[in-house]
């Protein structure tokens, strides 16, 4: 009787999950399809995976993606964490401005960020390269890390800080010994968010990429447009599996962190 009332929302929930997974499922099945055509089943085959592993361009794109993701996550996590702490810690005009700086990138669409960075790089005479992509990625990631760290403060016990200061700890030690360990779940999820955004970004990368600096999303884009689609199916399947694995590991580690 009681569950009867919630039938409609539950149907919606199940339908939504099906809706979200249906296309992905079809991609995964098709990656083992011997036929080039997604609409005909040509028998089970691993040939698209073989083709994928022999693709020079994909390997190069993968290396670029890892370089970009690693550098941008490292820098934006440091800068974002600092920003998050400072924003909560101090209340001043400076922080009001700082707050606006941090908030704006969150509400500006990718394409605007892409074009503004491109015009900036032209005006400043930067050479488009992996470096410019990394700058772009750091810029949009800082705000997300800062916001995640800030959110972590919601259940932050400031009396710990006061106690430490009463006991003679200076600001640096407070930051290092108290903020960082207590905020680490927030910092980690911020870093994960930055990683996700960096791996996923196409538009900003597209605008700021230079010679030989194609990342995986750019490579996928040109494969969708020019290339052999079945290889994309294989790539996607690998992507989806890795994703599931990382999420599982992340969930595990998060649980142990909370303990």
């Amino acid at each position: 009787m009681k569950t009867g009332r919630y039938i409609f929302p539950r149907i919606m929930l199940v339908t939504t999950l099906l809706f979200i997974y249906m296309p992905l499922l079809i991609l995964m099945i098709n990656s083992f399809n011997g036929s080039r055509f997604s609409t005909v089943w040509g028998g089970f085959s691993l040939k698209w995976y073989v083709k994928l592993f022999h693709d020079r361009n994909i390997r190069r794109a993968l290396v670029n993606t890892v370089i970009v993701a690693a550098s941008s996550v490292a820098v934006s996590t440091v800068l974002g964490t600092l920003a998050g702490v400072v924003l909560v810690r101090y209340k001043s005009v400076l922080q009001k401005i700082h707050h606006i700086f941090i908030t704006l990138p969150l509400i500006v669409p990718d394409i605007l960020m892409g074009i503004s960075l491109l015009l900036f790089f032209i005006a400043a005479g930067f050479r488009l390269s992996l470096g410019t992509i990394i700058i772009g990625h750091i810029t949009f990631s800082i705000s997300y890390v800062a916001a995640t760290v800030q959110a972590r403060f919601q259940d932050f016990d400031f009396s710990v800080v006061e106690a430490a200061q009463d006991l003679g700890a200076d600001n640096f030690r407070v930051f290092y010994k108290i903020y960082i360990p207590l905020l680490s779940p927030g910092i980690i999820s911020g870093a994960m968010l930055a990683l996700t955004l960096s791996l996923d970004d196409f538009v900003i990368t597209f605008f700021t990429a230079g010679p030989g600096s194609s990342t995986l999303p750019i490579q996928i884009y040109s494969m969708i447009r020019f290339g052999t689609p079945p290889v994309i199916n294989a790539l996607s399947t690998i992507f989806i599996c890795i994703t599931f694995m990382i999420v599982l590991i992340y969930q595990r580690s998060k649980r142990s962190l909370y303990r």
Partner: protein
Amino acid sequence: MKRSEFLLTFPSAFWLFLFFIIPVGIVIVISFRGSDPYGGIIPLWTAEPYRSINFPVYSSVLLRTLRLSILTTVICLLTALPVSYAMARLPKKLQEICLLLLVVPFWTNFLIRIYAWKVLLHPDGLLKMLLTSLKLVSPDASLLYTEGAVLMVLVYTYLPFAILPLYSAAEKFDFALIDAAKDLGARGWQSVLKVFIPGISAGIISAFMVVFIPVLGSYIIPEIVGGAESEMLGNKIAQRVFVDRNLPRAGALSSLLMLVILFPSVISLFFRRNFKKEITV
């Protein structure tokens, strides 16, 4: 004390000033410059890039952009409301699993997800066969390359973004209030409308923001699944940059887009001052 605050603020504030505020400023400055036919920018002040927007060709693109953004947002919100309601009322364990299931597709590249729809909507694809056998569409019709296809993929892409903030608001919502409303004689849908929705209004606003704004600027989705008549403002900006090599006009269009975004942002800030926390869930 002041000095340490400044030093700790400096890295992020300086970075964002240099690589965000200045670039946006440059867009606005360039939008008032002249252009030569070879992609150069002429250092003279002119409103020509803005005057070119006045041309009737833009009205259909602008209208389509607004129409698609509003439709996507409405559909996403209407779907996300019951979904987040159902999720919040599930046992804790199941909630976590559902959340995970919603988040995981995020991690696959969004281009891959768009491409998956190309396969599904293909004229010989599953969906088409289903619809044809149900006699809903003619065998010659194309599901892809229509405004409908763009809307479908937009909804698909942004639906999880709408569910997450709504869910995190619904999770904190005290469902005893609904039961109380019912005890006082309210019908099921009345209690939802009068108690649940106001209770999660903050989540609704953030969901609105995280769907509406990115859709306004979307450019890849209409390019890949859109047809001859599904250009959005983002495509026009890209065309100005990559085809016409007219940077001032691209700047003018970008400034226009910023104005369009500023409007809902200010409204939502008015409603709720720190929606940012909700964006990141």
